[in-house]
């Protein structure tokens, strides 16, 4: 393993202000073959999972980034003197899921899926930057169109929208629920 490349990649992931994409890495490390970069990142990520390490390199939001491990949440919060992070409300998560799977969507389409008005949840999600307005639909009233943001991927630890729970996973959950009923 190329130690020098590994060290360099670690430094770059550390200073990056957002998940460091393979494309950016390649742009900075011009001339280094993509497979070598890939191998270096993967070695780093694997090593960071070792015992005795409290910060690991994870893949999320389309790139690589540093994060603390879940086990240290309590102490981290004590140091930063902040409360436990709020989960999204059920309404917020439902709205987010509807957008994630049906994007690009309008407010009324989301409300139709949920059966309830979703304007309030949209505002919450916009504030949290989990969704964004991407334009207008060519339809009567030209409603605003929503999409999930890069923050959304990061928030749920997804690398891309392809990482959303698949039809098969969803079907499995529904099966389980029915099995419990029977």
């Amino acid at each position: 393993m190329n130690n020098e490349l590994k060290a360099l990649v670690e430094a770059l992931i550390f200073v990056s202000q957002e998940p460091l994409t393979p494309e950016r890495l390649a742009a900075v490390l011009e001339g280094v073959p993509a497979e070598e970069i890939q191998a270096a990142v993967e070695a780093l990520a694997a090593e960071s999972e070792a015992e005795g390490r409290g910060v690991h390199i994870i893949r999320s939001g389309g790139g690589w980034l540093f994060a603390t491990k879940p086990a240290h949440d309590r102490e981290v919060r004590r140091l930063l003197q902040i409360e436990r992070k709020n989960r999204l409300s059920s309404a917020g998560l439902e709205t987010l899921a509807a957008i994630a799977y049906r994007q690009p969507v309008t407010q009324s389409e989301i409300s139709a899926i949920r059966g309830v008005d979703s304007t309030g949840s949209l505002k919450t999600l916009l504030d949290k930057k989990l969704i964004k307005i991407v334009g207008r639909k060519k339809a009567p009233g030209n409603p605003l169109v929503y999409r999930t943001s890069d923050e959304f991927l990061l928030y749920l630890g997804l690398d891309s929208l392809d990482d959303l729970p698949s039809e098969a996973e969803i079907a499995k959950i529904l099966e389980q629920e029915k099995a419990v009923e029977a």
């Binding site: 202000q17 540093f66 949440d73 981290v76 989960r87 949920r114 630890g157 529904l174 009923e181």
Partner: protein, 298 residues
């Protein structure tokens, strides 16, 4: 950001089982699921009941247990172990309406959504009762429109339970949200551009400005002579005054306007000089009696 519905249940936090009434969370929805959703034993035949400690205002609490009418319908369908693709509309409509009738208090906003689905159920029921000569083709089933919505909603809810699991892991992992070293020169506090930010920012500015403008009316009266003296003293003390900065430093528009006319008067009477050096800069004003500066700019 506070949870917008602290009394709503984090249904997706745990797999929802059809024979189990959704249960009232003991804490805010921010709790981790292990802590938040300890299912209370519930009589299978019973509808969801609020847990102890929750004010028993009946309908309010009961309906808040559900995210909406589709959630309630799904609950009823599962409770009866009904095939979602073959819903006995008459029975489900009866159950659904029975549920709505338990209300003791009406929240109009939420009520409308529940009533809308009730109307849809009754409409479907009426369509089913119409005498027909031949059996309906599958695509013509009047229930179709409802079934499609329920199936989609069911999938969204199932996805939610998977996403909630991810959220629970991610929320415990801390990423650095401050700008790391080596930032160099550049713009502080980077913000990504979004249409919502853009629009919100504009209307917030306009509001701020309207508020400022409102204050103007109540602004104190400023005699021109007083302002003129103030301005000359300032020019003498500072040498050069940035016009825009000076203009904006005033509490009221009236006061600012008086200053503006004072400057015009001073320039007109050749006591002061006003110059705009470059296109991107504001107007700088200074007194003419400073021979050095006057010479340099004329």
């Amino acid at each position: 950001m506070p949870d917008p519905a602290p009394d709503a249940l984090p249904l997706e936090g745990t797999p929802v089982r059809g024979d189990e009434a959704p249960d009232q969370a003991p804490g805010p929805a921010a709790e981790v699921p292990e802590a938040a959703a300890v299912p209370a034993p519930v009589d299978e035949a019973e509808a969801p009941t609020p847990a102890a400690g929750v004010p028993a205002d009946g309908y309010q609490v009961r309906l808040d247990v559900f995210e909406g009418p589709l959630d309630l319908l799904l609950f009823l369908i599962r409770k009866k172990k009904i095939d979602i693709h073959d819903i006995p509309i008459a029975a489900i409509t009866r159950d659904y309406l029975g549920y709505l009738e338990r209300k003791t208090e009406i929240n109009l906003d939420r009520e409308a959504e529940f009533v809308f689905i009730a109307a849809l159920l009754i409409y479907i029921k009426s369509q089913m009762l119409l005498p027909r000569e031949t059996d309906l083709a599958e695509g013509d089933d009047p229930r179709r429109v409802l079934v499609d919505r329920l199936v989609e909603y069911e999938r969204v809810k199932a996805a939610c339970s998977l996403l909630r699991e991810r959220e629970d892991v991610e929320i415990l992992q801390w990423k650095r949200d401050f700008v790391p070293p080596f930032h160099g020169e550049g713009e502080p506090e980077p913000v990504e551009l979004s249409l919502f930010d853009l629009a919100e920012s504009f209307f917030a500015m306009m509001k701020r400005k309207t508020a400022d403008d409102t204050r103007i009316i109540r602004g104190r009266e400023v005699p021109v002579e007083v302002k003129m003296k103030e301005l000359v003293t300032l020019l003498q003390a500072r040498g050069v005054v940035d016009f825009l900065e000076y203009f904006e430093a005033h509490e009221s528009l009236e006061e600012a306007l008086v200053s503006f006319f004072c400057i015009l008067e001073l320039v007109k009477s050749r006591v002061a000089v006003a110059v705009q050096d470059e296109i991107f800069q504001t107007i700088r004003v200074w007194l003419r009696k400073d021979p050095h500066r006057t010479a340099a700019h004329e």
